[in-house]
Amino acid sequence: MDFAFTEEQQFFKKIITDTVDRMVVPRAREIDEKDEFPWELWKEFTRLGYLGLRYPEEIGGMNADPVTAMIFYEQIARGSVGFAQSVIMNILMGTYFVYRFGSQAIKERCLYPAMRGEKIATMCFTEDQSGSDLAATRTTAVKDGNEWVINGTKMWITNGPHADIATVLATTDPSLGAKGLNFFLVEKGTPGFSPGQILDKLGCRGTVTGELVFDNVRIPEENLLGAELNKGVEYLAEILDEVRVMTAAMAMGIAQAAYDEGLEYAKKRIAFGKPIGTYQLIRAKFADMATEMEASRLLIYSAAWKIKEKLPSRLEAAMAKMFATETCLKVVDEVTRIWGANAFANEYNPQRHFRDARFLLYGGGTHEILKDFMGRMLIGK
């Protein structure tokens, strides 16, 4: 049994860590404060080519395996989780179905520019009455001649207001529930497709999240992203585990950023004539945080390895997402205690990590849903 990263993965980790330290970390606070899409950083960072991380080299990607991709997700989230969400949306969910099912013309128009950062991608699942419960999706796609007509409103769409290309979940037959779901490609500029309300969020600021409105949006037949009709849920299952483990990796990124701040503070802050890190109760916090972060990473990277090896990973991915996110929530909380009242001041970073961590509770499945799902897998229906 070999738990080590390969020499190549270790090198990749070093490079992406340095890159994030140089390009993202110094801007993280400003991104959070302004809560605007960081266009300048987007251009500088995407120029490096990371948006093609998962895709084959022949089309300009890096062909990174899931373990290597998790290293990337963890590091970029350590830098700024707001920025990371925008980047990862282009890398994974926002382009996967375009890559998997798009025609060559669609790929040239949408996928390749999205891999270069010239187009911003998004995926639209959530609605005001549906999130984890996909079968409740009310956005409809109706065939009219050789076109599909999309109607509905999507909420909580990462990159939504700036999206050039949107992969939209819609039902072609509401009576079929989840079995009537399909993905459709909608491009910016299509009549009837428009951004709605932008959400003012507690954390993950800087990634612009909002509503997308589809009002009689007519798209060509080939914009159905699927080899067969009504297989949307099956296609989604192809990346579901990866999305969950990615969320877990992002949680470890936030946790690591907070932990590093806590460690530095514990060594420097003097109380009663000694650094607070010399007191047992503070030391105990680091022992617990480091142990749970290590356990989280073992779950994350073993689940990523299973995905890479095409082994069953549904349970492990859910476990990793839940455990790493809960660990992250504990770490950001403990760091605010280590920092004392300074953690409550907006001029320091611990409050940002504390706010950012909350969002990961919901993306990739709430923990209530995940526990129910895991319980069903373990006990049976």
């Binding site: 020499e7 090198f11 990749f12 070093k14 490079i15 390009m23 490096l48 080519g49 890096m62």
Partner: protein, 260 residues
């Protein structure tokens, strides 16, 4: 314009360093980085290549971990890299390092050798000058600007409070100072190339040197012992009016600390 960049893998500036029990060695946390000044050298080499053509080759002496520094060089845009792999030899004094690098450089063709003004671990800043001496080449140190044309270079050296402009015929050795440039962030295409590349290794014997030359007693300099830096005392606040406080500060510096 063929350029060779001498690169050293050094402990990460944030790595923990402790003096070993013997007092003659250091226990360093295994976190590594490319020597910062060598990154400036590498960036300058790449810029010269982009302007004048040619190739950039990175050369390092070190243990197996030094491979990472060379991969970083490839990721940034170097065409080739070579590692002289010998932990023990690399741990010796600057002369031994310079000798090994010289032996490797003798087999190469180049117009320019670029390297950092010093390595940020031992901070001795002696290897580049020794290499240039052994090669019989001119050396310009602490360079903050470098222009190449017509087989010669005009280099601006940073002196204390001044600058010196030096013209030198190529081939020559230059050492990079902070301010020369801003090293680039590698593109993913470079990272991918670096992840896959097979970097050739040379042994000390390949260079015509022998292992016993690596024995510590054969070093030209010997480390007698390491001393930890003096512990910084707590900040002393001098109360009172500015004029009296300043006079008291001078008194402490002159009479007690004896630093002025």
């Amino acid at each position: 314009m063929d350029i060779i960049v001498l690169v050293k893998q050094v402990p990460d500036p944030e790595a923990l360093v402790e003096i070993g029990a013997s007092g003659k060695d250091l226990n360093i946390e295994p976190k590594f980085a490319v020597n910062l000044f060598d990154e400036f050298a590498l960036e300058e080499a790449l810029r010269i290549k982009e302007k004048h053509g040619g190739k950039v080759k990175a050369l390092s002496l070190g243990g197996p971990k030094a491979m990472e520094a060379l991969r970083t060089a490839i990721a940034m845009g170097a065409d080739e890299a070579v590692l002289i792999e010998d932990d023990a030899y690399a741990a010796r004094d600057g002369y031994s390092t310079a000798l090994a690098l010289f032996k490797a450089l003798e087999k190469e063709t180049f117009d320019i050798i670029l390297t950092g003004r010093q390595a940020i671990d031992a901070d001795r800043g002696e290897v580049p000058q020794m290499v240039s001496q052994m090669l019989g080449l001119p050396h310009v140190g602490v360079v903050v600007k470098l222009d190449i044309s017509d087989g010669k270079a005009e280099a601006v050296s940073s002196l204390e409070g001044a600058k010196e402009v030096v013209e030198v015929a190529l081939p020559a050795v230059f050492t990079a100072q902070k301010g020369l440039n801003e090293p680039r962030v590698p593109l993913i295409t470079g990272v991918m190339k670096a992840m896959k590349v097979q970097i050739p290794k040379l042994t000390i014997e390949d260079l015509g040197l022998t292992k016993d030359m690596a024995a510590p007693e054969n070093s030209k300099t010997q480390i007698v012992r390491y001393l930890p830096p003096k512990k910084r005392p707590a900040v002393q606040l001098i109360p009172g009016e500015a004029r009296e406080a300043a006079a008291e500060a001078v008194r402490i510096l002159v009479d007690i600390e004896r630093v002025i």
